[in-house]
């Protein structure tokens, strides 16, 4: 083919341009540390890297969420542990008050201590987190959830429970509402309560009560009425369910329940067995305080006091069980957060590796390529220089 000087130069310039743009890209790669800086250099990888970056940022956000939930749950756990120790202290006081050797003024002093514990419990129930939110208020976290009332305390919150996203498709509650923790506490043994009739004149005191056969217990309300010499009749409405004879410390059993009594009920005394209802822990404390302050004036009022204190101890135990259960759930949530955090850390590492594989520069390879391009360019320049010297005119 016939080659002309003009064509030679045009083609040389084009190839130099191509080489220099390659070198320029190599330099960009080296200075950014990235294999590609625009999507056109590797469109699929650019889209994938974008997806991975989104996933990574999302995973980090889940980490932030988890930390936030962790903080709130720790605050709650702390509060609950203090609630438990207050309730334990209250239980000890109640047991102490149950001793027959105490005077009215002794009991009055214990009542004062119980009131203090009630105040502490109230303060704990109104615990606020670092953001000033009441942690036991449910969704209504900006209104004080508990205010003292004559019957204990009023709950102003709701039954809401806030969830926090700690992983794709996994949420964890970052608290519990006060209704669950302090309000909805079953009375008695958690299934039923046994209460003496206010007009009882004997010394019958309700002791341990249990459900011996859950299948046989129908949730009904029963009356246990005593006649002379310990004979008793259990009725449900007008129906007689069981009859029997009671001796001090004996157990009365019927329809799957067992009630242990102590002392001797008088003729005409009665006890009623009814399904448990929900009662706030503050009402239970208030009942205890009222009983302690009522004073003992007679044998029957002493029996009534013992029965009231026993009932209060039962309710305090239920409250303790409830706070333990809630604490166990909080612990479970904290565990799942920790598990999720380590899973997230692993997946973040994985994502970063994938991103780096796709986008990160293989420096050894990049340097080699750049070096090759440099060599080619200088060879091309040299070759051009050599051929430009070749002209017949030089020899004329």
């Amino acid at each position: 083919m016939r080659v002309t000087q003009g064509l030679n130069q045009t083609q040389f310039l084009a190839s130099i341009n191509a080489l220099e743009s390659g070198i320029n890209q190599g330099q960009n790669q080296m200075s950014s540390g990235l294999q590609f800086t625009t999507a056109s250099q590797n469109p699929t990888a650019a889209g994938t890297v974008n997806n991975y970056n989104q996933a990574l940022a999302q995973s980090r956000q889940y980490g932030t969420n988890a930390t936030s939930a962790q903080t709130n749950l720790s605050t709650e756990d702390n509060a609950l542990s203090q609630v438990q120790s207050q309730l334990q202290a209250l239980r000890t006081l109640a047991l102490e008050a149950n001793s027959g050797t105490l005077t009215n003024s002794n009991r009055s002093a214990i009542a004062t201590q119980a009131v203090q514990i009630q105040n502490s419990l109230l303060a704990l129930a109104n615990t606020q987190n670092g953001n000033g939110e009441y942690i036991f208020g449910g969704f209504a976290s900006q209104a004080q959830p508990f205010t003292l009332s004559a019957a204990g305390a009023t709950y102003n919150g709701d039954q809401g429970q806030r969830q926090v996203q700690i992983a794709a498709g996994q949420t964890v509650a970052d608290g519990d509402n006060g209704d669950t923790v302090f309000n909805q506490i079953k009375t008695g043994n958690g299934t039923f309560t046994v209460a003496p009739n206010a007009l009882n004149s004997g010394s019958g005191i309700v002791g341990a009560t249990t459900v011996s056969n859950p299948a046989a217990y129908d949730g009904g309300t029963y009356a246990i009425a005593f006649a002379a010499a310990g004979a008793y009749t259990v009725t449900e409405g007008a129906t007689v369910v069981a009859t029997g004879s009671y001796t001090d410390g004996g157990t009365i059993a019927f329809n799957g329940v067992q009630v242990t009594l102590s002392g001797q009920p008088a003729n005409g005394d009665s006890f009623s067995l009814a399904p448990s209802t929900n009662q706030s822990v503050f009402a239970s404390v208030q009942n205890l305080v009222s009983a302690l302050q009522s004073g003992v004036t007679s044998a029957s009022s002493s029996t009534a006091l013992n029965n009231s204190i026993n009932a209060a101890i039962n309710n305090i135990d239920q409250a303790l069980t409830q706070s333990s259960n809630v604490r166990a759930m909080v612990g479970g949530r904290l565990n799942s957060i920790t598990t999720q955090q380590s899973v997230a850390t692993a997946s973040q590492t994985q994502l970063q590796q994938s991103i780096s594989t796709l986008q990160g520069l293989d420096f050894a390879k990049a340097i080699t390529t750049l070096d090759q391009q440099n060599t080619t360019l200088s060879a091309a320049l040299q070759a051009f220089n050599l051929t430009q010297g070749l002209s017949l005119f030089k020899f004329l």
Binding site: Q5, S40, Q165
Partner: protein, 632 residues
């Protein structure tokens, strides 16, 4: 005897001419469009002396131009393709560089926006996290605006380059037609010898023209060249030119189209190569689709965020107001419509999945509407009647006309073109972010059964009774319940209970007389259900029939724009090679090789010297003869 003088002189003249031609070649070695010339030597007609014929010397019968029309045509075609790809590449590379691998930070801004929603979910009562969310929303909006602003400025650039190209094409066309006249006259004057310099100039102009716009040419017998553009629209016919003009697009006055002064028809669709073709293609294939896709994502973002917002309550207990606003889809009547009927378009309430990034032309033939997708040409007959109560619906959009369109009316419907540019944050008060769920549920403390009620979800946030308190009371036996004391409804544990636009489930075994309440969540400022749902929306497929999430849409856009740029780069590289080949083929025929010219110079010099020597010998012969005569 006189022959030797005549012959020698003819040779001296011819070789001088040859040396001139060669010198001219050397002089024009670097002149663009110059075609190498060679001298055409012919024997002079001899005189017969009856016995033998002796030659009468040499004459220059013409100067030949080394020109191959085929090679030139090939180069022109290749230049047109390359010009088109160069223009396309210019714009696709600009977009590629501007948007990089994060679409100009849009992707990062979107992620931060959803993270900010998560932060609000963590701390729904915190004004700081709410304020941060609004800040992130603004950053998303300005990222969309910036991206579409960049694309729109590229469109402006396209317009100004179209105008410049058209001006240049017209001036080249004028020059070609002027040269046509000179060439026709010159050829006639020189007795059929073509004026090479003028031909060179004209071919060079044609070559320049081919870089601007794809052309085809024909040559008339008298030497005049006719040039056609596009689909055979004449640009130059002999000495006449038909100028191109720019006219506003019939739907969009901001976009220029190419027209031809002869027919005043828009011929943009026929111009597919050259720089001009590349500009039109860049607008139609690169810039506008990117704007539409960006707008599609912006529409989806605004729609999903606002509808989630509407399902929750803000700090004041009101249903959430919109966070984003986008420009409504555009429907523009053609400037050629014969009546004043206008169209308005909106994205159908459930149309997000069907919404495309395409533009459509709504046309009426015989009163029948037809919606044609401008990107693939497919058309459908939209459902509905085009009225407010029954709009035309198709492809996720609803179109309402202000009247009955005339036959032949056309409207350009652009569902997403302006959405990204118009995306803005319309919520400024951080307390108006609806982080809380709209309703709350509660089980009464006196309940003795073992049933719980779910937190509830909002099905229809527009229900006017949504926030009205409702009590669900279980009958005796608890196999049915009543709502607000209404008729008994059979109870199934976990079954959906739908009232007033909300839905709850009651699980477990309720006891007779148990009550549950559902009420508005005013005061539930610590609730984060709605913020949680909003934060999770980034992973929810909403586009392309629910298969693509908002962030997925951005990734798709990055990959799409990137592969388009890559494809154009590849095509441009390939076409450059083709062009280099065509150029070398032309150069091989018409280019000046200086070594060759040096050799020619030597050749002619030697021939000239020999002819001069022949003259000297003739002279000495003559002198010999004269002196012999004198001596005799």
């Amino acid at each position: 005897m006189s022959d030797v003088f005549g012959i020698s002189v003819s040779a001296l003249q011819a070789f001088q001419n040859a040396i001139n031609v060669t010198s001219n070649n050397v002089a024009n070695a670097s002149t663009p469009g110059y075609d190498r010339e060679t001298v055409n030597l012919t024997e002079a007609v001899p005189q017969s002396n009856g016995a033998a014929t002796i030659g009468a010397g040499v004459v220059v019968s013409g100067i030949n131009r080394a020109f191959s029309q085929a090679a030139a045509n090939q180069l022109n075609t290749s230049q047109s393709s390359l010009g088109q790809l160069n223009a396309l590449q210019n714009y696709s590379n600009q977009i590629d560089n501007l948007f990089g691998t994060t679409l100009g930070g849009l992707s990062t801004a979107l992620q931060s926006f959803y993270s900010a929603f998560s932060d609000v979910a963590n701390n729904p009562t915190s004004t700081a996290s709410r304020q941060a969310l609004i800040g992130q929303a603004q950053s998303v909006a300005s990222s969309f605006q910036n991206a579409s602003g960049e694309l729109n400025s590229l469109n402006t650039d396209v317009n100004s380059r179209i105008t410049a190209d058209v001006t240049q094409i017209n001036s080249i066309a004028k020059a070609i037609s002027a040269l046509n006249g000179q060439i026709v006259t010159g050829t006639a004057q020189d007795g059929g010898q073509p004026p090479n310099e003028l031909l060179d100039q004209r071919d060079q102009l044609v070559s320049n023209l081919s870089q601007l716009v794809g052309i085809s040419t024909t040559t008339d017998p008298n030497g005049a060249l006719n040039v056609f553009v596009g689909n055979g629209q004449p640009l130059v016919l002999q000495g006449q030119t038909t100028a191109l003009t720019t006219v506003a697009n019939q739907f969009n006055a901001t976009q220029l189209e190419i027209s031809n002064t002869a027919s005043s028809a828009v011929i943009s669709n026929n111009i597919t190569s050259g720089d001009l073709g590349g500009l039109l293609a860049a607008r139609a294939q690169v810039i506008n689709p990117a704007l539409n896709q960006l707008g599609q994502v912006a529409t989806a973002l605004s729609r999903t965020v606002n509808s989630q917002q509407a399902q929750g309550l803000d700090l004041s207990g009101n249903l959430g107001a919109n966070i984003f606003a986008v420009t409504a889809p555009l429907a523009t009547g053609s400037s050629r419509n014969t009546d004043a009927v206008t169209a308005s378009v909106s994205v159908s309430p459930t149309g997000l999945g069907a919404l495309t990034a395409n533009d459509y032309v709504l046309s009426f033939v015989g009163g029948t509407p037809k919606l044609t997708n401008t990107s693939d040409g497919t058309s459908v007959t939209p459902a509905g009647a085009g009225t407010v109560s029954s709009p035309y619906t198709a492809a996720g959009i609803a179109i309402v006309l202000s009247g009955t369109p005339a036959n032949g009316d056309q409207f350009l419907v652009q569902p997403t073109a302006s959405a990204a540019a118009g995306l803005k944050v319309v919520l400024s008060n951080p307390s108006q972010i609806a982080a809380a769920g709209a309703i709350k549920t509660a089980a009464a403390g006196t309940n003795t059964g073992a049933a719980g009620i779910s937190a509830g979800t909002v099905l229809d946030s527009t229900n006017s009774n949504l926030l009205t308190p409702v009590t669900i009371t279980f009958a005796n036996p608890p196999s049915s319940f009543s709502v607000n004391g209404g008729p008994a409804v059979a109870f199934a544990s976990g079954g959906n209970i739908n009232v007033n636009g909300w839905q709850v489930q009651i699980n477990g075994a309720p006891a007779a007389g148990d009550t549950f309440t559902v009420s508005g969540n005013a005061g539930g400022t610590g609730d984060n259900r709605n913020a949680l749902a909003a934060a999770n929306q980034q992973n929810v497929g909403v586009l392309q029939n629910g298969t693509t999430s908002i962030t997925g849409g951005i990734s798709g856009l990055i990959t799409g724009l990137g592969s388009q740029a890559q494809q154009i780069n590849t095509a441009q590289t390939a076409q450059s090679a083709v062009n280099a080949q065509a150029l070398s083929s032309v150069q091989s025929t018409s280019g000046v090789n200086l070594d060759e010219e040096a050799a020619s110079l030597l050749q002619w010099q030697q021939a000239y010297q020999a002819a001069a020597r022949a003259l000297v010998i003739g002279n000495s012969l003559f002198t010999t003869l004269i002196s012999a005569v004198n001596q005799g």
